[in-house]
């Protein structure tokens, strides 16, 4: 029987009731009395010098409250970058300023120049049209290779070139060189990891109000991590101390990484509300989102694999150009380095690995973490490369992978990380069973009978989640700690509020987190509520990204609950006149071991708040505990994915016929939610593989800035997915044994899709080594023509 409560139960989500009835409270649903509306005038050229701004006519327009320009931000901090990467020469990365409103120059289409505040949004928009703005257009830097050539235009005039850093990492040069010198076979692949736009369905919104009487600012914003925004905006941009700044992220309509970062617009409305002493609201349109939300991926890579005569992987080296866009977004610098290079071992025991990454400034929207963040880029190049090697060597791609699997744990890779647990053989066994490898030949024959080509693509993946520990990431350049916090507040009658630093924007924390606490205390989940997303209610928190919520914040919650149990046992011991060491807690009852004495959970909690009969000299009244949890290591979810496609040889159109995912997430708290996370990740991976691409023209104009041009996966583009997470090897270092499941689908699926397309084409006699994503009908058709 499946469990119906506690850890492991597929409980229905409690948050669904409000979302299904229109009662969710998203940031745009918040309106503050007396609010004004903000509209940003943004650059429509990619690169230019602002020669004049005349706002006088616009200021005279009806309803205009005030117009702000870059001048208003002179001397005010720019948006900070949260991770300092060190160049291979030991120099810090180049970190040009990222102003809230453009200072003298615009550096990408969408760069905000002026902000108009008016009584209505229409008035603000109309007034923006009346601003007289002169921009002297400069040559745009768009292509990364061209950006690095000497003589290229400079995105930042104060720098000598467009290189942010040149980062090198991994094994000794000599070891890597030797592996390639000794190789019986070397497989080389050059590829592009296409630029994507995260596109959570809720565009970003920021509403700020200011209480002059006590000098307090409140910002409602669409964020995955309100405390991080409070810290970055308060300390680095606006100079508002934390106790005067409240950041609230209410219901947030999806994030996928793009709502981690601190954005100019939220800093602006907070600043402006103080200046005009009135609330200010900004709601992004979707068009604006395309040119102001941080983009994802955008790597150009050359990767090489050295194999010995027995097809063992003996060396790997990879060179990547990573697009930073025009400015360093909050965590942009860490994505192609520590979140990418450290995963290059994949699931394989390759002994010598070298990673080189050059990060490049261009006149495009900043690029930062998007679901997977560096790990999809690592997985895609590695798993495409292994497939290519198998084809070149004429060996079965699954067999080649199995032969090189890491099989004993813990395993220290040549790229700095130590995998604590895993069972790659088990997930591959499971995957082969799910996708029914023996039945593929018959399915291919069926497709061929219809005139279609059929291919099967397989890949493995590993990711590092719950990025940690703080002392290590600090050495690597992180300017933040990566712990999390939770407060368990037990009320007098035994009900509980758990204040958590993780933010839920689709992940179902409000349902899954109480399952953990309920399990530990043996009480019903309905007695427990989760509070998140408000810096005034929660002690602290680093938020939700990198599949960290349960592994890091959930662990903090476990630690706080353990403290609660310890204190409650003391109280129970006093109530039952027993020794604390003899007290047991089971099913919400405290008992004295070996006796029939017991007190209920509610009796103990009531005693804590009505301490008439209470050990006041030994412990404080009340029952509330906070814990901060800093993990000892990353967690390492891993798995194997398979995809079967049909290709229409006349049009090149690819359809996904079957998809299977065998994941190892360690222990699972709510399998229904976990499976939903995998489904969504897979769809985004299929989107990257077949449909999505963010396109700039040579002048830096953004050409794919609406759902007419940016192909989001729709219901008809994807199949039902077969997912399994039964091959679990629990994480060894967190109290729940959980690993994280939010990004796996997006990491594991793109290579499976592309490998499947190439299998279909090559089986049909087309000698095609690689097709870049998105594998569009046009690209497939062209590849088939030779």
């Amino acid at each position: 029987m499946p469990k119906d409560h506690g850890i492991g139960a597929a409980q229905k989500r409690r948050e669904d009731v409000r979302f299904l009835t229109g009662a969710g409270k998203y940031t745009d649903d918040i309106n503050v009395y007396g609010q004004t509306y903000c509209h940003f005038l943004r650059s429509d050229v990619a690169h230019g010098k602002i020669t004049s701004i005349d706002t006088s006519a616009a200021e005279a327009m009806p309803g205009v409250v005030r117009i702000f320009t870059g001048k208003d931000f002179e001397g005010i901090g720019g948006l900070p970058c949260g991770w300092q990467v060190t160049d291979k020469n030991g120099d810090p990365m180049k970190e040009p300023p990222h102003p809230v409103l453009a200072q003298g120059k615009v550096r990408h289409v969408g760069d905000p120049i002026c902000a108009v505040i008016a009584e209505t949004l229409d008035q603000a928009r109309d007034a923006a049209e009346a601003i007289e703005l002169e921009i002297e257009e400069l040559p745009a830097v768009v292509d990364m290779r061209a950006a690095l050539e000497s003589g290229s235009a400079l995105v930042h005039d104060e720098l000598t070139d467009n290189l942010c850093y040149d980062w090198q990492f991994g094994s000794d040069q000599a070891a890597v060189d030797k592996a390639f010198a000794d190789a019986a076979h070397v497989t080389t692949l050059e590829l592009v990891n296409n630029r994507l736009v995260a596109n959570p369905m809720e565009p970003r919104v920021a509403v700020a109000e200011y209480a002059r009487a006590n000098d307090e600012s409140t910002l409602y914003t669409t964020s995955q991590n309100p405390h991080v925004i409070r810290l970055l905006m308060g300390a680095f941009v606006l100079g508002i101390p934390e106790h005067k700044l409240r950041v609230v992220a209410p219901d947030v309509g999806g994030g996928f990484g793009t709502k981690i970062f601190h954005y100019a617009e939220e800093a602006f409305v907070t600043f402006a509300a103080r200046q005009i002493n009135r609330p200010v609201k900004w709601t992004s349109t979707r068009s604006e989102a395309f040119m102001s939300d941080a983009h994802g991926r955008d790597h150009v890579t050359k990767i090489e694999l050295a194999l010995d005569a027995e097809n063992n992987f003996i060396g790997l080296r990879t060179d990547t150009l990573a697009n930073m866009g025009a400015y360093l977004s909050t965590f942009s610098s860490s994505v192609p380095t520590w979140l990418h290079g450290t995963l290059m071992a994949g699931n394989y025991k390759t002994p010598a690995i070298q990673v080189n990454v050059k990060a490049v400034f261009t006149n495009t929207v900043p690029v930062d973490a998007y679901r997977g963040a560096g790990r999809p880029e690592a997985t895609f190049q590695l798993e495409r490369l292994v497939d290519k090697a198998a084809r070149e060597l004429g060996v079965d791609p699954i067999k080649l992978r199995r032969q090189n699997f890491i099989e004993s744990f813990p395993y220290a890779t040549p790229v700095a990380v130590e995998y604590d647990t895993g069972d790659y053989v088990a997930t591959m066994d499971k995957l082969e069973e799910m996708i029914d490898v023996p039945g593929f030949a018959a399915r291919r024959a069926e497709s061929e009978a219809k005139g279609k080509l059929r291919g099967l693509g397989v890949n493995c993946y590993i990711e590092a989640c719950g990025i940690a520990p703080s002392n290590l990431v600090g050495q690597l350049g992180a300017r933040a700690g990566l712990y999390d916090a939770a407060t368990v507040r037990v009320n007098a009658t035994g009900s509980i509020s758990v204040m958590v630093g993780a933010h839920s924007h689709g992940q179902g924390h409000e349902t899954a987190f109480p399952q953990v606490v309920a399990d530990m205390l043996g009480i019903d989940e309905s007695m427990i509520d989760i509070v998140h997303g408000d810096t005034s209610k929660i002690p602290f928190g680093m938020g939700t990204y990198g599949s960290r919520s349960l592994a890091v914040c959930g662990s903090a919650m476990v630690r706080a609950t353990e403290k609660i149990i310890n204190k409650a046992k003391k109280i129970a011991a006093h109530l039952m006149e027993a020794s604390e060491g003899d007290i047991e807690l089971k099913d919400g009852m405290f008992t004295v071991a070996g006796t029939d004495k017991s007190v209920a959970w509610g009796d103990v909690t009531l005693a804590a708040y009505v301490p008439h009969n209470y050990p006041l000299t030994e412990i404080e009244p009340g029952l509330e505990e906070t814990a901060f949890y800093d993990p000892a290591n990353f967690t390492y979810p891993a798995g194997a994915y398979a995809c079967e496609v049909e290709v229409d040889p006349d049009t090149g159109k690819v359809t996904i016929e079957r998809f299977a995912a065998a994941d190892d997430f360690g222990n699972v708290v709510n399998p229904m939610i976990v499976e939903g996370q995998v489904h969504g990740g897979i769809a985004q991976g299929i989107g990257q593989a077949l449909l999505e691409s963010c396109i700039y023209d040579a002048d830096g104009q953004l050409l794919s800035a609406s759902y007419m041009d940016y192909a989001m996966p729709r219901a008809g583009d994807v199949p039902f997915y077969m997912v399994d997470h039964s091959c679990a090897t629990p994480c060894t270092h967190n109290p729940l044994g959980v690993k994280g499941c939010g990004e796996a689908g997006a990491i594991g699926s793109p290579p499976a899709v592309v490998n499947a397309v190439l299998d279909a084409l090559n089986h049909a006699g087309h000698d095609v080594a690689h097709i870049d994503m998105p594998v569009s009908p046009h690209r497939v058709w062209k590849a088939m023509q030779g």
Partner: protein, 161 residues
């Protein structure tokens, strides 16, 4: 300004509106029915789907003035009279057909008209019908499953290996 009168979720409303006011603005700003969401500005995403005289309409693509005299339904009016979730809403919860909840109102509104037109749609028919509803969270798996379940179909063997 134009005076419009319509029935929204069974209640008569009458308001003075600008001629260019969209139904999304009318519902969200004038009636404070914020369950209808705005996810794009090119009539592509379907987060703003509402019912106008029994048909699914994108609220961002119709003026309030055009709805003068109409019967309008929004997500806020979909639950049963006692406040419990209706069959479609319940199926979405039972089958985890939503995550962040932002596209969900539009999905539920589309599903309602689909099942009215086609009480037992196939998987392919559902996927085709949802062409105008974008979801970024669920990968559509559980949305399609929920709609099949709401139509009384057995979904226990979906994507079984």
């Amino acid at each position: 300004m134009t005076k419009v009168t319509m029935t929204v979720n069974g209640k008569a409303v009458s308001k003075e509106v600008r001629g260019n006011m969209l139904m999304t603005e009318f519902l969200r700003d004038e009636l404070h029915l914020t369950g209808t969401h705005v996810g794009c500005d090119t009539s592509q995403c379907g987060a703003c789907n509402i019912h106008v005289n029994g048909e699914t309409v994108k609220g961002c693509t119709i003026f309030a003035a055009e709805c003068d005299g109409a019967e309008v339904g929004t997500i806020e009016g979909q639950a049963n009279a006692d406040g419990s979730l209706n069959v479609i809403q319940q199926a979405f919860q039972d089958h985890h057909g939503l995550q962040c909840g932002f596209c969900t109102p539009g999905m539920v509104m589309s599903a309602a008209t689909l099942l009215k037109e086609n009480p037992k749609p196939t998987e392919a028919e559902i996927r085709h019908y949802l062409e105008g509803n974008i979801c970024r969270c669920t990968g559509y798996h559980n949305i399609v499953k929920a709609i099949m379940a709401a139509s009384g179909q057995d979904v226990s063997t979906i994507a079984a290996e």
